[in-house]
């Protein structure tokens, strides 16, 4: 994992690229003012989902990529965030802009608490405990003792927030900007967190926990805090998903959701911040185009069956682990390295 430490997060000249990239993302919904295409609203919704998945992957990446704690249970924190936001908005009529950070705080608490038992667990064991959490959560959410709040199997319906009157935006354009602003804020926070003392402590713990401890780093505190922050970020993604979909239901927070975060993480690149965005976009693209990918594969290999998205995910995970263990972002960095070496020689 030490090789993964050489990530984009610590390189200074990336700044301009990052600003330009975010500006492009911010300009995309404005196409809506010139296009007549009826599917534009749908593309906007896809954009929202990509940003939401990118935030969730960011939370997971902070924990796995930068702190070395493996979690297969982040669907649980996503669920807690989504339910917290939905319950706050429906039962306490909290406005959406307050519900998102409040959901983050709730998830920080949940993650911090789960971080305590996680302290004693390493590697496979932590993966196992969080795997169990991911499987148990849908059942817990359906339980009748909290059905008054969670709506049991039926879930909670909520209203999409209206854009403020002074902005000439449609609901979907507005929600896209809400997701984008939260994403930018969280990426900026994580970027700064990683550049500072805390970030170095987190990475030191990942690379060698015992050595970090002898250097005077409070490993227990940093590990639980990282778990909490990671859960808070993923929880805010959950809150955004509750707001943009306007519905939460227990069966959408299964182990599969955790696995899709993991797919995003591995595809984008472990311990890479731009990789989180690549990963988020990738998850949504595969989910949305799995039918056409499947049709294409049926034609190309004359298969008898539809190829499900999960088979594609799984095969891709295996291939990446074998051929590109640092993900697409790692691959891009490697290619850039080749180019800069080539130019230096001439």
């Amino acid at each position: 994992m030490a090789a993964m430490a050489r990530s984009w997060a610590t390189k200074p000249h990336i700044g301009l690229w990052a600003i330009g990239f975010w500006l492009v993302l911010a300009a995309l919904p404005l196409i809506g003012f010139v296009t007549e295409s009826p599917s534009f609203e749908y593309y906007l919704f896809m954009g929202q989902s990509m940003l939401i998945y990118a935030i969730a992957v960011l939370g997971l990446n902070l924990l796995i990529g930068f702190n070395g704690q493996i979690s297969l249970g982040h669907s649980a924190f996503f669920a807690v965030g989504a339910y917290a936001a939905a319950i706050l908005m429906v039962h306490a009529s909290v406005p959406y802009w307050l519900a998102i950070p409040l959901a983050g705080i709730v998830c920080f608490g949940a993650g911090f608490l789960f971080g305590f038992p996680a302290l004693k667990l390493e590697g496979h064991y932590l993966a196992l405990a969080t795997f169990t959490l991911a499987i148990a959560v849908p059942q817990l959410l359906k339980h009748k003792s909290i059905a008054g709040w969670t709506g049991g199997v039926g879930g909670v319906l909520l209203d999409k927030p209206d854009p403020p009157a002074f902005l000439p935006l449609s609901v979907d354009q507005f929600l896209y900007y809400v997701c984008l602003i939260v994403a930018m804020a969280l990426f900026w926070i994580v970027y700064n967190l990683l550049r500072g003392r805390s970030g170095r402590a987190m990475m030191a713990i990942r690379d060698h926990a015992m050595a970090a401890g002898t250097m005077g780093i409070d490993t227990a505190l940093y590990k639980t805090m990282t778990f909490g922050v990671s859960a808070a970020i993923t929880g805010m993604a959950g809150a955004l998903s509750a707001i943009t979909v306007a519905y939460v239901a227990p069966d959408s927070f299964t182990l599969q959701l955790s696995i899709s975060f993991l797919v995003g993480l591995v595809v984008g690149g472990i311990a890479s911040l731009p990789g989180c965005l690549i990963g988020g976009a990738f998850i949504v693209l595969v989910q949305n185009s799995s039918q056409s990918i499947s049709d294409w594969m049926k034609d190309a290999f004359s298969l008898r069956y539809d190829v499900p998205a999960w088979a594609i995910y799984g095969t891709l995970l295996l291939l990446l682990m074998f051929f590109l263990p640092n993900g697409l972002a790692g691959g891009i960095t490697a290619i850039r390295g080749l180019f800069s070496r080539a130019t230096q020689k001439t």
Binding site: I70, L128, T132, Q139, K142, H143, M210, I259, A311, M321
Partner: protein
């Protein structure tokens, strides 16, 4: 009282299945230190193969044996092709690979056989055995199959050269290699056995929970709990742990928390054991030199 005994018997039946799953996990854990998250889906896939064979008219026990053989070689193949190149990979890469296998098996089973629930035949009649409504032939059969399998495995590991070589490879790989044991192949053999045992668990549980691609998710969690309770590095402990979890799960489910929270009980057990007694009831505490 009668209800209580019924619950214990039902718990032992489930426990037998959890014991098989736990044993499969331990089989892989002792030799490679990996926790195989795909164990449940591999078992599910094997069970579908058995279902397809029985559906095509193959007699039950022939299909049973053939499925175990196919699962054995399938496990061997997966270890050789996918896991052997990753022998020295970091934990995260391995976890990702297991999760990938889990997704692939689940998706392919759904693709070939669809996600509709199927009935899986049981070789044992469901009638009452002693006429007092306590034990059915089906339940006795499940426990008996598990015990026979355990007996065969014990004989294999204790009284055959190959079993001895496998134990040696798991205990001290470098010394075993010096003695001429082909350690890498022993690991593959362990994977094959684990896969075969998993197939037995799948075929035993399918008549109870019905066959569908997601049937093993919950069972795998109980299998984890069983393996951890008994000590994940101890095969006999894992079997005992499986039975303990089965009985506890049924008693707690019917008397205290209700059936909806049974999986959460497994979660509490997993985390509780990992925190309070990580070596399990029958395991040895491992001291690591730094």
């Amino acid at each position: 009282m009668e209800f209580f005994i019924q619950q214990i018997v039902a718990g032992l039946t489930n426990g037998a299945i959890y014991a098989c799953v736990a044993l499969g996990l331990v089989m892989i854990y002792v030799s490679t230190d990996h926790i195989n998250f795909a164990q449940g889906e591999m078992a599910m896939f094997a069970t579908f193969l058995a279902w397809a064979m029985i559906d095509a008219g193959v007699p039950y026990w022939v299909a049973f044996g053939l499925t175990i053989m196919v699962a054995f070689f399938g496990g061997l193949f997966i270890q050789r092709v996918i896991l052997k190149p990753l022998e020295n990979a970091p934990v995260l890469a391995l976890v990702v690979c297991f999760i990938a296998l889990l997704s692939i098996f689940n998706a392919i089973a759904g693709m070939i056989w669809s996600f509709t629930i199927k009935q899986f035949p049981s070789p044992f009649p469901s009638r009452d055995l002693f006429g007092n409504g306590l034990v059915s032939a089906q339940q006795l059969g499940v426990v008996a199959v598990t015990l026979v399998m355990l007996g065969l495995l014990t004989v294999f590991f204790r009284y055959t050269t190959l079993g001895l070589a496998m134990r040696a490879a798991a205990q001290n790989a470098s010394s075993a290699r010096l003695m001429g044991v082909r350690v890498s192949w022993m690991l593959a053999l362990g994977w094959g056995l684990a896969s075969g045992i998993g197939a037995i668990a799948g075929m035993l549980v399918a008549p109870i929970v019905f066959l569908d691609p997601n049937m093993m998710a919950g069972i795998l969690v109980y299998g984890f709990a069983g393996a951890l309770v008994g000590g994940i590095a101890n095969p006999l402990g894992a079997v005992a742990g499986g039975f303990i979890v089965g009985v506890l799960e049924n008693l707690v489910g019917s008397y205290i928390i209700g059936n909806e929270l049974k999986l959460s009980f497994a979660l509490v057990m997993v985390i509780g054991v990992l925190l309070l007694k990580p070596a399990g009831l029958f395991g040895r505490v491992i001291v690591r030199r730094v």
